[in-house]
Amino acid sequence: MPLTLSSLREKSDRIAGSYEDLLIRAEDVAASVLIGGHRKRLPGYGDEFWQFREFQSLSDQPQDIDWRQSAKGERHYIRQKEQQVVQRFHFWLSRYEGMNYKSDIAPCSKAEMAQLILMALGVVLSRSGEYLSSPFRNRASRGEPGLERLGAYLLNGAEGQQESGSAAILPGPGEAESATHTSRILAGDFLAPAEDIEACLERLAGQGQNGLILQVLDPAEEDLPFDGHVLFEGVEHNESIRIDHAQSIRSKYQERVKAHCRNVAEIAESYGWLYLKFRTDMPPAHAFEKLWLLLQSLNERQGL
């Protein structure tokens, strides 16, 4: 059953809500480094008051003098604000047809799993006041409007986005807009050839963006639990392979898939990106916990 916006929201709320402690720690994380709108305990540009300081005639502009404070004494003070970092999360979800694959042994399709995890992440981040953005209208926003836009993107995709074609396995150029302090969350099955993935990451990382690759796979894709005479058909219909004894090639196939996943992880690593792999037969909450733990490590890395 395809998700609707409300059901997606409800489910992801439930997943996120069951991790109150995560939320609490999310506040901490927000308070520390990562997210846009969070103080850096340094004087700088921002909305919040940071300190009064004596006017330096050489470096300061006279119009910066806080006259109310200066009137209390003989010296001139200027009012400094705390440095604020503009940080946001950009979500991207692969939308090609393969994401809709759901094998008999999986409880949901890969797209559903990814939607759920991303939305839950969005909920948690939103509660801790982060800016969320997506290729959908491509504007960062926080709070409910941000979640709504995220949800709409996850379910319906960005307007004008090409729905089919192998290009959709990986984020296209238009979806990789450059913005400072943006963490990119890329979700998909990343079954594209390793060179394509590398090229894509190179492009994105070249824009100075860190990020996270969420690889969602169906258990059938990993394990090939089929026996006998099978005609396997790929996403493209001209692509099909007939196997007489599917069981006989199972181990070889599993090795290949593992190697590919390792490959993707290594590419991500080499660009400083995080990598996480899900199977659709994992409980979503469990998957989400793993994701959160990983994000935490990202925070710590950036916070240092």
Partner: protein, 900 residues
């Protein structure tokens, strides 16, 4: 081919519509090999190059397609239930009427008829029909053709099971007349016929066809019944005639047996049945004395009343009653008067003993009164009445007679009181010899031995007219034997005793011959009966439908003497022996005017099926098997194809298997028998050139093997027929050598083989099969064989011989003949473990073993058959265990027997 197709039906023809589905199946098959499961898998690129490129034929090859089509066609055909030569497929909507021939002519095929009827009952039960049964042989009693039905199937089968053929002919016309007319529902009628045209058969067929759908079953022509008849007034040889329908194929030997009253076979004759004629005389080389002993002539293999002919009084033994004081007293040896009479008459007459009243009721032709004078007046009157009705009363003088009054009735001549003693202390006369017989005397022609003298006699009253009454006299002219007629009967008086007390006559052969001639006079010739006071003849015994003797049923009526020769067997007069006062008349199925015609020939144009040919052949299972085999073949082909066996190796394999198929049986055939014989226990017999004798022997040993398996731990694996010249005898513990196989003298090679078998511990059981203790007809054949063999001296198995106790405790060894005696080696040779190399008997065990368990053809019945089997078991155990049982198992019983 046309006939084949005509006899070919499908029980479920609707299934044949399945052939319409063949095109659809064809289409399905063409898309095979079965389409792979289509599985959408985004990771399909990882599967590339994992397996070598697999080429799947897009279409199944044509020959495989045809094979599969053939499999399906076979299955459809099989499910349609093809039946070749179908029996009657019962119509579910019509009730079933069975017409069953149950006259005598149905008896030879009775098992088939009843089996067919019961099969039909089974079928009727399946389709839930009611059954009406008509029997074509009239019943005795008021209603000749009672209509049984409509009955539920259960009752009808019970009725059929209890049904036996009746000993008189079927009456088709009578049945046709008794058919009620109002029953107009169309019926399906099945007529289980005996194959013989009876009176009114054609009319009955027409009537039945008018009532519904008629199917007739007949025996095939070889199974048509036959009858035997015996002409009256026989000469030196019994004048027997075979009656058979002319279209019964001939050209084979039939055996006619002559049987005495107590069931012993007194002779048999093989007759070549020529066929193509409705009658054929059958010469039977049987001497006069054996003829006199013969009561039945039986056509072997024809178990029907028609296959048995009773030889009536001219050929049969007279029934002689000897009056004794009490029934047990059969005469003290050498002293008693009765003793000599018994010894003299027993070979030629059936004797019974008792008081006068009993004997008068017994229907005897001759009653002997040895030295009996006094009797109650009622008895005297009854005796006189009996004589006047045609009885022959033979009296002997004696001490009692001397006290009798002169004018006692029932004497041929008045007697003088007191005896005439010719050798007393006070007598000066010498004992007298017997004079030569007059030409008028019945004894004329008999030699008078010179040493026979008469010491004492009773004299006739002088002065009476003795002319024509004296049958024998002494040298001095005094009468020794006188006779007179009384009414239709005769009274004969020996003026001396029947013992050796008054004369030597009773010690001589003359006495025997005289008694035989007197006996022959008893009972007048049948033609002479008419006009006498005897009006009716009572049944003595009758035959049942199978020709077995039975006591007359209550429904039998006495035969009227006035029309004896015109009476044919009918419900009130079943075939059998009728008689009164020594006058007998045999009523037989077979008579000179009997002409058997086969129904099939008479009713050309009516569809008939044979009991034998009709055996349905159901193709369902063979077709399914064929389909299964083809399916396996298909499967193997599929395996071969998917395993990628290359065409070349497949060809090589096929060639190899073809070669193997040819080679293996050919290679294994030559020694298979010997291997089998060496691996198991086989009962062996020497085969004869006569296949029917071989069949009997084989059946006998097979039965014996079954009994051995059931009773003992010896478990024979089978029966082997041996030719001593060719086969190795070494595998068999004992070999049965029936007389039928002794006809051809074994070759020198065979004799060497046999001798070697005997020398190395084998045992041969010779069975002379003639029931004769001394030198019988088959002795010569045995002698020809044994003369060339080194065989130790033999003796009859003594009472304590181990052969009598190897398994059962046996007192004698009955076979078909009850007088079983087996000759064994005289001195148990230690080297052979006490097993005699040769056992010789004559009781025809093979025939007894070959019979069914009831032993109904044996005089001793199932008991005798059982004893014959026990004999066989003992012989087998004797051959296997040797003297082991000499003193082992039966010690308690042996001790008990010794103590007794």
């Amino acid at each position: 081919m046309g006939a084949f197709l005509a006899n070919f039906i499908f029980t479920n023809p609707l299934v044949l519509l399945g052939f319409l589905a063949l095109p659809a199946i064809l289409y399905l098959l063409r898309t095979t090999p079965p389409p792979p499961r289509r599985i959408f898998l985004p990771t399909v690129q990882f599967l590339k190059d994992l397996v070598p490129d697999q080429q799947t034929p897009s279409k199944t090859p044509l020959w495989l397609l045809l094979l599969r089509m053939l499999i399906i066609a076979l299955i459809i055909t099989a499910l349609a239930g093809p039946v070749y030569n179908p029996g009657t497929a019962l119509n579910t909507s019509r009730s079933l009427t069975l017409v069953i021939d149950n006259g005598w002519s149905a008896a030879p095929n009775w098992e088939k008829i009843r089996g067919k009827a019961l099969d039909l009952m089974n079928e009727a039960e399946r389709v839930d029909l009611t059954v009406t049964i008509y029997k074509t042989a009239p019943q005795p009693g008021e209603v000749a053709f009672p209509e049984a039905g409509p009955l539920p199937v259960g009752e009808a089968s019970a009725l059929l099971r209890a049904m036996t053929p009746l000993p008189w002919p079927a009456d088709h016309g009578g049945l046709r007349d008794s058919l009620s007319e109002e029953n107009k529902d169309p019926q399906q009628i099945i007529w289980l016929s005996d194959g013989i045209m009876h009176a009114g058969s054609r009319e009955l067929v027409n009537a039945l066809q008018a009532r519904g759908n008629l199917n007739i079953f007949t025996p095939d022509t070889a199974g048509l019944p036959m009858a035997l008849s015996l002409a009256r007034g026989s000469g030196e040889m019994p004048d027997l005639t075979l009656h058979a329908p002319p279209d019964k194929p001939g050209g084979y030997n039939l055996t006619i047996q002559a049987m005495s009253e107590n069931g012993n076979i007194v002779g048999f004759q093989d007759v070549l049945f020529k066929g193509d004629a409705d009658r054929q005389t059958a010469g039977f080389d049987l001497n006069r004395s054996l003829q006199e002993e013969t009561l039945f002539y039986r056509l072997e293999g024809q178990r029907s009343a028609g296959g048995v002919v009773i030889a009536d009084e001219s050929l049969s033994r007279k029934s002689v009653g000897i009056v004794t004081e009490n029934e047990q007293n059969e005469g003290t040896p050498l002293i008693d008067a009765v003793y000599y009479l018994r010894r003299a008459l027993q070979p030629y007459a059936d004797l019974s003993f008792g008081d006068i009243d009993d004997l008068l009721d017994g229907g005897h032709a001759l009653i002997i009164l040895p030295d009996i004078a006094g009797m109650p007046i009622e008895t005297l009157n009854a005796l006189q009445g009996w004589v006047e009705e045609g009885g022959l009363l033979l009296r002997f003088a004696g001490p009692n007679m001397t006290r009798e009054l002169q004018n006692t009735p029932l004497l041929p001549v008045p007697l003088r009181r007191g005896g005439r003693n010719l050798q007393g202390a006070l007598s000066w006369e010498e004992p007298l010899k017997i004079a030569e017989f007059d030409a008028e005397s019945p004894f004329y022609g008999l030699d008078v031995p010179a040493e026979v003298t008469v010491r004492t006699q009773i004299l006739a009253d002088p002065g009476t007219d003795l002319d024509g009454k004296i049958w024998a006299s002494l040298e001095d002219g005094t009468p020794l034997i006188t006779a007179d007629t009384l009414g239709q009967g005769r009274i004969v008086l020996f003026h001396t005793t029947s013992s050796a007390e008054w004369s030597d006559l009773a010690l001589s052969g003359l006495f025997v011959n005289m008694l035989r001639r007197v006996t022959a006079l008893a009972g007048a010739p049948p033609g002479a009966i008419t006009g006498t006071r005897i009006q009716t003849l009572d049944p003595v015994f009758t035959l049942d439908g199978f020709g077995r003797r039975q006591s007359p049923p209550a429904t039998v009526e006495p035969l009227s003497v006035s029309s004896l020769d015109d009476i044919r067997p009918e419900p009130s007069h079943p075939p059998g022996l009728y008689g009164r006062a020594g006058i007998y008349h045999a009523l037989n199925i077979g008579h000179m005017d009997l002409r058997l015609r086969s129904l099939e020939k008479a009713l050309t144009g009516t569809s008939m099926a044979s009991y034998d040919g009709e055996s349905e052949f159901h193709f369902t299972m063979p077709l399914l098997y064929a389909a299964g085999i083809l399916f396996l073949l298909d499967w193997l082909i599929m395996i071969a194809m998917s395993a990628g066996i290359r065409r070349a190796s497949l060809k090589a394999g096929a060639r190899l298997s073809l070669v193997m198929m040819v080679i293996i049986p050919a290679g294994a055939a030559y020694a298979q028998d010997d291997i089998d014989y060496a691996n198991g226990l086989y009962l062996a017999y020497i085969s004869s050139s006569d296949p029917s004798a071989n069949a009997v022997t084989r059946q006998a040993l097979e039965n014996l093997a079954v009994e051995l398996r059931q009773r003992t731990s010896a478990e024979p694996d089978g029966v082997a027929a041996l030719d001593p010249a060719r086969d190795s005898l070494a595998f068999f513990p004992w070999i049965y050598w029936p007389a039928s196989s002794m006809r051809q003298t074994p070759s020198a090679e065979a004799l060497r083989n046999i001798q070697s078998y005997l020398d190395n511990g084998g045992t041969i059981f010779f069975d002379l099969q003639d029931g004769v203790q001394g030198a019988g007809p088959n002795t010569e054949a045995l002698r020809r064989i044994t003369n060339a063999l080194n065989i130790p001296p033999l003796m009859p198995a003594p009472d304590d011989h181990v052969l009598r106790k190897t398994f059962y405790l046996l007192d004698n060894f009955p076979g078909r003949y009850n007088n079983g005696q087996i000759w064994v080696e005289r001195s148990a040779d230690a080297g052979r473990d006490g097993v005699s190399p040769v056992l010789i008997g004559s009781s025809d065990w093979a025939t007894a073993w070959a019979m069914e368990r009831s032993g109904s053809q044996l005089t001793g019945g199932s008991r005798q058959r059982e004893m014959a089997i026990r004999t066989g078991v003992n012989i087998m155990m004797y051959a296997l265990t040797g003297n082991y049982k000499q003193d082992q198992v039966h010690i308690p019983y042996i001790l008990e027997r010794l103590e007794r």
